[in-house]
Structure formats: structure tokens, C-alpha cells
């Protein structure tokens, strides 16, 4: 007897459909899995057999061959266990063939016959080419996020058997368990901008960053509040729409992380990898199983690199291309896949190793130390940032002042309005405006042109810097509700919001 069932395997954050064929024939008792299974996949043999016996099902004492098609693609993980087990039940006549025809099966089997969740259920359900999917009960909520599929959850192999033969009903989805596998631990609430005292320039930079998707780098001494400012940024971003929210969930699911509760799926993610993190952990990859990195986990939201100067230069270099393309392309000999990397990058850096370099006379670093530090933050990498803003410790007056600062919600409303203007131009945000489009939508007024010409004549501006200034000035004009022509004021502020570059590089050209 032969049976063929649908399932899927994970590559990066994408699912790839897999057909599991089970052939049971007379011959010496044997169990072979062919079709490029990886180690975890090949071990399905032992798990399925034990699950059969624990569940009181008869193990066929015949020659069993399992083929995972397409056989040229490498299959990873234990997610095919259930499909193999059900295929075996169909091939031995326990289940009628037609009952499984339009159904795909996902899940790992325990030795006791229980059904365990696997990472990436969201992507796997998406990829499985069947209108109905059976998955572990613990992943049910996640699987239901995929539109247009009937999804059944089961806790064990026996429940799957009962459901398919009609002997028992599919178990109803369990009510959310407070600490269940799908329930994230309640995320720390994002700080509110109203709680940040002073720092009007840095707050303005955050608003501009959120509006135009301009990467922003804060430069300042320790204790200035750079981290707190960065944490405020996700709250300023507009909530993610359906497809974007699903992508965030898909990446988290593929990384094996719990999904946020349903009401918070649209919240832009915030990831803050430590500077000791490896290049692969940052951009994704890995030899045995392609795993999304922090960059992909932050896609659609904010990637925060604290202590930018402490990140090894090699790690930062790996970020450059993905930041440009909005995606990581992972190519392996056998397969290549695309991981999302559409992040808003926020970074914080000390001006120098001792951290006091912004204040004249306070720095204790030797010139050689400062030079080494500046070299690590190469000019091409700093060029990724449209906004380079100085953040200093708030003055005592600011700290003691009553909090009359704007709340996150008020700024977020302004951001949303300005983003709508960018959307009318056909781009998500102004950072994506091409140089050619700038000539149409970021025309310089005579005053603005005069101002830039003066800087240019002083050698304080390069061609690339000029385009960046114009993009930022465009965003400032959007926030002010201005038309296609940029005023000198917008350009002057855009220049100010880039002035910290001098601090880091010690050069005069923006």
C-alpha cells in the first residue's frame, strides 16, 4: 500500500511544501527514510515507532519506505513526524485514504504519542498546499493567523486518528493559557516620550526618524538617556498592517519565539542585540538550519544597537548590504532564501572610548585611542544614518522641571499624518525616495539653496550628504505640512540633525 500526504519544512522564514510518501510492502521488516532528511528528520523513524507502540497502535512488521519529495531539497527538523505517522496509518489501512486527501500534517511526535509544537508553524501552514491543516494544539492560535485555511489542533497521535476516522471530535481550541507556548511573557511597556526630560533636539530626531524611516544615531556621554530615547521609538511608529504584522509573526515563529498576544500583533517589534552578538546571530543564517537573525526579528520595527562603537567592525559591515536592500539574501549550495530586514536602525554611541568627548576638556582618551575608535565606525557605515544627533546629559533644570513634554501618542499622531503624505508619493517613507524623485518633491527654495551653497563652498557637505539632507528636510517639511518646496528652515534643521558626525569622525564634511 502507498500513501501520500502534504506537509512542509522550514527554510529561513519561508515554508517549502513537502509531500510525504509512505510505502508499505512485504519483505524483511525495515524502516527507511529517503529524500535528504537531516539528522533530526531521520530520527523520526524511532520517534514514530515509539509513539505508535505507546499509543497502542500496531506497528507493521513489513518493509516501510518513506520518501520526502521533492527529494532534492534538504528537510530539517522534526516537523514531518506527524505526516510520516499518519501516512503509515493510511498505508496500513487504519485510516481511509480519502480522509487525508485535502489535509496537511505538521508536528513533532513524542515517544509517548503526544504531539509537540515545532518552530515556524505560521510559515509551514502558509506553505502547505492543502485547504486543511492538522497541527499541534499548542500551535493552533498561531496557525489560525493564516487566512483561508481550516486548522485542526490535536494533543496526541490518537486524537489525530480519532479526528480523521470520525470516531471522536477534534478537540476544541483550548482557552489561552497564561503562560502557554503561544502566550508571550507580558512585554515591558515601552517608555513614553513625556517621561524624557529636556532633549528637545533628540526627540525631534526621533519624530523625524519615525516619519521618514531615517536611521538615527545618538552620540553622547553615558547617562545622557540615549537608550531610553531609542526605546521610545517603536511607540511612534504606526501600527503594522495585516501583511506586515503577519510577516513579523512569521519571523518570530520561525525563530521559535512566542508570538505576542493577538491584540498586540500590530505592534512594531523592538530588538536590541548585545554588542557581543555574532554576525550570524545578527543577520541570520547558520549551517544546519537557516535561522532568522536579530535583523529579521526587528523587520517592520526598530533594531537598536547600543554601544555601536563596541560592535566589531566585521559585524557592522555585514549589516550594510541588508540595510540597503531591506532583506538578507542567504545563499547556500543547495538552496537560497530571503530573510526580511526592513528595519529602522537606531544606534547609540559614545563620542570616544571614555565617553566624555563631546565636552571640551573632559575627555581622558589619548589621540590614538580616539583614532582607533573612529576607525571602527567607518565613514561608509556612518553614511547609513540620515540623522546623527548629539545627546547630552540633561541639565539639572530640565530634570527638575515639571513634565510638560509631549506624550508619545501626540507625536505618533503627527507622524501618522506626515507618513500619509509620503505614501501619496508612492513610497513607504521618505528614506526610500530616489535621487531622481528628490528633484520633483524636494525642490530647494532660493534661501535653502543659498544656505546649502554656503556650506558646500566651505567644503562641509558632499554630494551624498546633500541627498540625505534633502530627504530629511523633506520629512521635516511633511511634518510641518509644507508643499514641494523646501524652506531654509527645514534644511537648517536637517543639517543640525546630522552635526554629530563631526564628533565621531573629527572631519568637517557631512
Amino acid at each position: 500500500m502507498i500513501a501520500a500526504l502534504g506537509s512542509a519544512t522550514l527554510l529561513g522564514v519561508e515554508g517549502r511544501p513537502v509531500t510525504v510518501e509512505v510505502h508499505v510492502a512485504n519483505g524483511l521488516p525495515a524502516f527507511a527514510i529517503v529524500g535528504l532528511p537531516d539528522a533530526a528528520c531521520r530520527e523520526a523513524r524511532d520517534r514514530v515507532r515509539a509513539a505508535f507502540l505507546s499509543s497502542g497502535l500496531a506497528w507493521p512488521m513489513r518493509r516501510v519506505t518513506v520518501n520526502l519529495a521533492p527529494s532534492s531539497m534538504r528537510k530539517a527538523g522534526a516537523g514531518l513526524d506527524l505526516a510520516i505517522a499518519v501516512g503509515l496509518l493510511v498505508a496500513t489501512g487504519e485510516i481511509d485514504g480519502p480522509a487525508t486527501r485535502d489535509c496537511a500534517f505538521l508536528g513533532e511526535l513524542g515517544l509517548d504519542g503526544s504531539l509537540r509544537p515545532v518552530p515556524g508553524v505560521l510559515a509551514l501552514v502558509d506553505a502547505a498546499q492543502a485547504p486543511a491543516v492538522v497541527c499541534p494544539a499548542a500551535s493552533l492560535a498561531e496557525a489560525r493567523l493564516v487566512p483561508g485555511r481550516r486548522v485542526f489542533g490535536a494533543r496526541s497521535l490518537l486524537e489525530v486518528l480519532d479526528g480523521l476516522t470520525g470516531r471522536g471530535a477534534w478537540p476544541a481550541p483550548a482557552p489561552r493559557e497564561p503562560t502557554g507556548a503561544t502566550g508571550a511573557s507580558p512585554a515591558a511597556p515601552a517608555p513614553d516620550l513625556a517621561g524624557v526630560r529636556g532633549q528637545r533636539v533628540a526627540k525631534r530626531a526621533l519624530e523625524v526618524a519615525a516619519t521618514g524611516a531615517h536611521h538615527v544615531l545618538f552620540v553622547g556621554p553615558p547617562g545622557a538617556g540615549k537608550t531610553m530615547l531609542a526605546r521610545c521609538l517603536p511607540g511612534l511608529l504606526p501600527p503594522l498592517g495585516g501583511e506586515d504584522a503577519l510577516e513579523v509573526a512569521r519571523v518570530r515563529s520561525a525563530a521559535g519565539l512566542p508570538l505576542p498576544p493577538p491584540g498586540e500583533l500590530g505592534r512594531p517589534p523592538f530588538r536590541a542585540p548585545h554588542h557581543s552578538c555574532s554576525p550570524v546571530a545578527l543577520v541570520g543564517g547558520g549551517t544546519t538550519q537557516l535561522r532568522p537573525g536579530e535583523l529579521s526579528l526587528a523587520s517592520g520595527g526598530v533594531l537598536f544597537l547600543d554601544e555601536l562603537g563596541e560592535f566589531p567592525a566585521s559585524v557592522l559591515e555585514t549589516l550594510r548590504q541588508p540595510l540597503e536592500d531591506g532583506a538578507v539574501l542567504v545563499s547556500r549550495a543547495r538552496a537560497s532564501t530571503r530573510l526580511p530586514a526592513r528595519v529602522l536602525l537606531v544606534a547609540a554611541a559614545n563620542p570616544c572610548p571614555c565617553g566624555e568627548g563631546t565636552e571640551p576638556g573632559a575627555c581622558r582618551c589619548t589621540p590614538a585611542m580616539r583614532e582607533r575608535y573612529a576607525r571602527r565606525l567607518s565613514a561608509p557605515f556612518l553614511d547609513r544614518f540620515d540623522l546623527l544627533v548629539r545627546v547630552d546629559r540633561p541639565s539639572p533644570a530640565d530634570l527638575l522641571s515639571s513634565g510638560d513634554a509631549e506624550a508619545t501618542a501626540a507625536v505618533a499622531a503627527r507622524v501618522a499624518r506626515a507618513r500619509a503624505r509620503a505614501a501619496e508619493r508612492g513610497v513607504r517613507a521618505n528614506a526610500q525616495l530616489s535621487d531622481a524623485r528628490l528633484d520633483e518633491v524636494a525642490v530647494l527654495s532660493d534661501d535653502a539653496r543659498g544656505l546649502l551653497e554656503a556650506r558646500l563652498a566651505g567644503g562641509a557637505l558632499s554630494a551624498r550628504g546633500l541627498a540625505r539632507i534633502r530627504r530629511v528636510a523633506r520629512t521635516l517639511a511633511d511634518l510641518a505640512g509644507a508643499g514641494d518646496v523646501l524652506d531654509a528652515e527645514h534644511v537648517a534643521v536637517a543639517l543640525e540633525l546630522r552635526s554629530a558626525r563631526d564628533v565621531l569622525l573629527g572631519t568637517r564634511r557631512a
Binding site: G198, Q199, R200, V201, A202, R204, T358, E359, P360, R390, D392, S395, A397, D398, D435, L438, D439, E440, A442, V443, L444, S445, D446, R449, G450, L451, L452, E453, A454, L456, A457, G458, G459, L461, S462, A463, R464, G465, L466, A467, R470, L476, V485, A488, E489, H490, A492, V493, L495, E496, S499, D502, V503, G506
Partner: protein
């Protein structure tokens, strides 16, 4: 005219009245072949300059004009006594010369040499020259890409300089030429030896991306200087040669300033690589300033005579050109301005008053200081007080003045431009007012 005068008080465009109405009104159309032939013949008459020719064919077809010249019935355009006398003298010479010229032969000679003839008002006429105050009435080009090189939308940078240049200047000119061409910028120069030749050599490396444009002072078929023979033929095949003089015109001294005006007219930005204090490149600079074309100069050693002119330009407030990036930034800025969207970049600049043109062309640091005080506004005064007493960040300026970020940034920029505030990596710092006054007075004296 010294450089400082030239930059500070630009002269009005040479002849602003010239047949603007005709250019605006008549839609461009192809000329009949007979008209084209007569235009070529008219251009070849002795002493026929661009202004005379433009005036002659402004209100009649070249054919009827040629007919009048031959018959000697040409009417002087002005009734003023001396002008009439001078006109009659020249018309007599024209009539004499015209008897031995056959328009159709002249045109056929152009065809045989692969020379294209463009008469003003014709669709093939280089559109960039239309916006000029004194465009040539007829121009001749060699090269298949004349339309591309002469289109108003093509970015063009003129790279010019002295013929007796240093090795340094030659290298920089070639680097600029190659770098600009690689970025799609057409390099304009005069095909002289020295800087011009080096710029063309550089631009030819990437001629496939942007064709080099050489503007000649002699006839377009004349090889001058002889040492550039090979270079000239390479520019002819990969780029464009353009001249307004008739075929066979020898390189006469007076034609080179006229040629320089065409270089300035074609350029979006003028870069002077090396020039002596009173070198020919300075004529081009004057022409560029009159047209509102930004001027940039390559800095050189203070001991090098070849850099004396360019260093003086820098001292007078010309933009600095250290590398291709500097020039491209200036070009981007030029094309980014409000005039950039209206069509040809130069038109809007010319409509502005001469004062405005000067201001746009050269952002002189001390220029905004007016006679009475410094003309500081309330915001600027407040910001100036706020930055006294040590290095101050923008954040502190905001706290001390109560101004918004926009107003404070603008005020700081203005103050820095006036030299009242110094912008450093650590923040802003007030500059002692007395030293500023002193330097400002010095600048005015010079």
C-alpha cells in the same frame, strides 16, 4: 576686471534685449535646405559676428537675407549716424565677398565633412544655448551625439584652465574629467592644450556614459592646436565638437573670449583647475558669473603661479573643488533649485535681477553684512547672546532662547555665515565681535 570685482558686482548680461521675443514666440521648425545653405554662407562672410548675424536673420529668412546682401540692398538695423556708417562699410565688404560664395557649395562641403549645421530656431539647435543672452545664430557640430550633448536636460560641467599648467593641474583635470563623465556628466572644455586637453582626455575614458563637448574658437573643421590632432579626432568620434565660426576660420585672438562665453553658457557648473591671475580662464569665469553659473576652483599651492588665479577665486568666495564629489554636490544643488523643475536650469537665473544672480552664484561670507548694523533679527540676537560664554549645544541654545528648533537652526546658520559664531564638533561658540568687524572691513577694502 579683477576677480573680486567680477564676483562681487557682476555685470549685466552682455546684451539682454537680443531677440528674446523671437525665441519665445516662434515654434521650432526644420528649415528648408536653401535657408540652411544661405545661413552657412552668411556665417562665412568676413567680420560676421554672432550678434550681427542674429540681428540679420531675426526678421527675415536666411535666403532673402542672402539675396539682399548680394544685391547690396541691406538696410541698417539702427538709424544712429555712426552705426549706419559702420554698417554700410561692413555691408559693402559682405557684398563683395558674397559674389564669390555659393551657398549650396558651402552646405555641400559641410555634408561632405560630416558637419551638422544648426540655425537658431531650428529643432536641432542645441537647446542649452537658447537660454543664453547672446546665443550664436548658427553653429556647427561634428559628432553623432550633438543632440545629447546640447540638450538642456543633460548635466554639463565645464572644466577649464591655463594652457601652461603644472603636472598637478593636469592630473586633477583628468581626474575630474573622468570622474564627472563616469557619473553621467558631460564635460565641456575648449580643446586647448594643458588643462583643457587633460579634462577631455579624462572625459574620453567614460565617453560612453557622457559625451565630452569641446567648444572651439576656430572653424569646427580646423585643427588647432596641431598637438591636439589626435585628441581632437577622438573627441569628434566619441563626443562632440562645436563652433560658431564658419568652416575654415583660423584661430584669431578675438574669437577666444567669444568661445569662452559659449563654454559658460553650456555649463551648469564651471570648474577652474589652474589659472594665472589674468588668464583666459578668468574670462570664462566672468561669463559664468554674468550667467549665474556657479564657479568652483581647485585649490593649489600658494607658491604656484598657475594656481594664483584659482586661489584668488577661492579667497573671493568661489566654491571649492577638491574632488569630483565637491563638483557633483554643487551640480546637484544647482539642479535641485527651484529653477530645476521649470525646465532649462538657466532660464530662471536670467530672469532674476543682476543682484540676485550674483548672490546665487557666489555665497560671499561677508556679503550679507549691511552698512548700518549687521542686520541681525531678534532671533539671531537672542541666539548670539545664548552662545556667549563657552561652547554651547543646540539643545542649550533652545533652552536659553525659548526658540523652536527651526528658528534656532536658521539663526545659527546665519550667524555662522556672518562669522559671528564658530561651528565646531563640540558645539557653537561666539566669536569676538571686534575681530569679526576687523576682518569684514578688510574684506571690503580688498
Amino acid at each position: 576686471m579683477t576677480c573680486h570685482d567680477a564676483l562681487g558686482a557682476p555685470s549685466a548680461p552682455a546684451d539682454p534685449s537680443i531677440d528674446g521675443g523671437r525665441r519665445g514666440a516662434a515654434p521650432a521648425r526644420a528649415l528648408p535646405r536653401a535657408d540652411l545653405a544661405c545661413a552657412v554662407a552668411l556665417a562665412s562672410l568676413p567680420g560676421m559676428g554672432p550678434a550681427s548675424l542674429r540681428a540679420l536673420i531675426a526678421d527675415r529668412s536666411p535666403t532673402s537675407c542672402w539675396d539682399e546682401v548680394r544685391r547690396g540692398v541691406l538696410q541698417p538695423p539702427s538709424t544712429e549716424g555712426r552705426a549706419v556708417a559702420s554698417f554700410r562699410r561692413r555691408a559693402g565688404a559682405w557684398r563683395e565677398a558674397a559674389q564669390s560664395v555659393s551657398p549650396s557649395d558651402a552646405l555641400e562641403r559641410c555634408d561632405a565633412l560630416g558637419i551638422a549645421v544648426h540655425v537658431i530656431g531650428q529643432p536641432s539647435y542645441p537647446s542649452v544655448l537658447l537660454a543664453d543672452p547672446s546665443p550664436p545664430a548658427v553653429c556647427f557640430t561634428i559628432g553623432a551625439r550633438a543632440a545629447e550633448a546640447g540638450a538642456a536636460g543633460t548635466p554639463r560641467v565645464a572644466v577649464v584652465g591655463t594652457r601652461s599648467c603644472t603636472h598637478y593641474g593636469e592630473e586633477v583635470a583628468a581626474e575630474l574629467g573622468a570622474g564627472l563623465a563616469a557619473r553621467g556628466v558631460s564635460v565641456v572644455s575648449g580643446l586647448a592644450t594643458g588643462i583643457d586637453a587633460a579634462a577631455h582626455e579624462g572625459a574620453l575614458v567614460h565617453a560612453a556614459v557622457a559625451p565630452p563637448l569641446a567648444i572651439l574658437g576656430c572653424g569646427v573643421d580646423v585643427v588647432y592646436p596641431a598637438s591636439n590632432r589626435r585628441l581632437r579626432s577622438r573627441v569628434a568620434s566619441d563626443g562632440v565638437l562645436l563652433a560658431e565660426s564658419a568652416l575654415g576660420t583660423p584661430p584669431e585672438r578675438w574669437r577666444f573670449p567669444a568661445r569662452n562665453r559659449l563654454i559658460a553658457a553650456c555649463a551648469d557648473v564651471l570648474v577652474v583647475v589652474e589659472s594665472h591671475h589674468r588668464g583666459g580662464a578668468m574670462h570664462t569665469v566672468d561669463a559664468a558669473i554674468a550667467r549665474g553659473v556657479p564657479v568652483a576652483a581647485v585649490p593649489g599651492s600658494v607658491r604656484s603661479a598657475a594656481s594664483r588665479g584659482t586661489n584668488a577665486l577661492l579667497a573671493d568666495g568661489a566654491a571649492i573643488a577638491r574632488d569630483v564629489d565637491d563638483v557633483v554636490a554643487l551640480l546637484a544643488l544647482r539642479r535641485a533649485g527651484a529653477s530645476g523643475t521649470a525646465g532649462p536650469g538657466c532660464t530662471a537665473v536670467h530672469e532674476a535681477s543682476p543682484q540676485r544672480v550674483g548672490a546665487a552664484a557666489v555665497p560671499a561670507p561677508g556679503g550679507s553684512i549691511d552698512g548700518a548694523g549687521r542686520g541681525l533679527g531678534d532671533a539671531e540676537e537672542r541666539v548670539r547672546r545664548a552662545v556667549r560664554g563657552g561652547v554651547t549645544t543646540l539643545e542649550v541654545v533652545l533652552a536659553r532662547t525659548g526658540l523652536g528648533i527651526g528658528a534656532a537652526s536658521l539663526a545659527l546658520d546665519r550667524l555662522a555665515g556672518l562669522g559671528l559664531v564658530r561651528r565646531g564638533a563640540a558645539g557653537y561658540e561666539a566669536v569676538d565681535a571686534r575681530s569679526v568687524d576687523g576682518s569684514a572691513r578688510h574684506a571690503h577694502d580688498g
